[in-house]
Subunit: 103 residues, 4 copies
């Protein structure tokens, strides 16, 4: 599991509040079994390319069923032989600073 991928996906043209659509995506993510963490601006998944991209694809397929336009930003950090970074990256920063940070 060497990839961390953060993404944020929402429809255009469904009004200003898109929480209903975000919740549907989180339901797909949470049930997928792929390790993840939700934050106020996106969701971070950890896994191989096929695993994480399949989850993004499922979220898109669901959203395009009833939305005519979908916008999505993604960002990934691939590192050879790296695992468990969903928790270790934040822990490593805290260790360097010698204090707890807000998560």
């Amino acid at each position: 599991m060497s990839m961390l991928l953060e993404f944020s996906m929402y429809p255009l043209g469904q009004g200003e509040s898109v929480g209903e659509y975000v919740a549907r995506s989180l339901d797909i993510i949470d049930r997928s079994g792929v390790p993840y963490r939700l934050n106020p601006m996106g969701t971070v998944l950890e896994g191989e390319w096929d695993e994480v991209m399949d989850v993004v694809r499922q979220c898109l397929d669901r959203m395009t069923q009833d939305c005519g336009r979908v916008s999505c930003t993604l960002k990934f950090d691939w590192r050879r032989d790296a695992t468990g970074r969903l928790t270790s990256k934040v822990a490593s920063v805290e260790q360097r600073l010698g204090r707890e940070l807000k998560k």
Copy 2:
């Protein structure tokens, strides 16, 4: 405080591990007094444009002191009269789904 801004900044040309530089930024962010949350792929700040951009600017100024090239991604969500979204956006998704999610 109507803006949520997530950003991630790191140097190019300082090797594969950039944790030292990320820790310096988090030190600036944590001491700034601006509400924030750290996640494995970035840091989310909440505040007015001037407040949050001043923090990003300070992180950049520090990094350019000893790095020749700096890459940064940012994403913001501005909403009129919205506050406390650092915690309320995630809580709202959980409420819709009727269960806790991984944060």
Copy 3:
């Protein structure tokens, strides 16, 4: 002029077609005097932090006059003593490959 900054800004809640709002931003950008290039997914500005961020700020101020929610992605590449990269980065890739690419 050591920073290249790409950004894309649009309103949520103003329907599926947001071309009118994008055009208003491009009008601000084009009149600002800051060097830029428009592409299908965003606009790339070149300049110092204050110059480019002032343009982004003006676009946001205009959009928030009649939009309740605004989403924006930004990405910058800062490099010491680098100028003219609005054209030189693409030219350098073409030179390495020894052929013209689609711009």
Copy 4:
């Protein structure tokens, strides 16, 4: 062809200048047959999910052959039944403003 996808991929730990790696990606993109446009901060592809993601995947596979860490940002705009947006989005903004913009 209803998706526009912009992406930018580069290695960490290969020094400050990554033009060689970017050129290899552009070679893959240019030979793929998928419509694209290169700009100073990324490359925009147009096509279906499978087509465009396959190109990104090929670029990643090539880069991970000799790089230990790879960073990538992506952004897509999916729109039902929309085609030819690689050129029409920019043209539409120019038409609204009644003047040519810098591309």
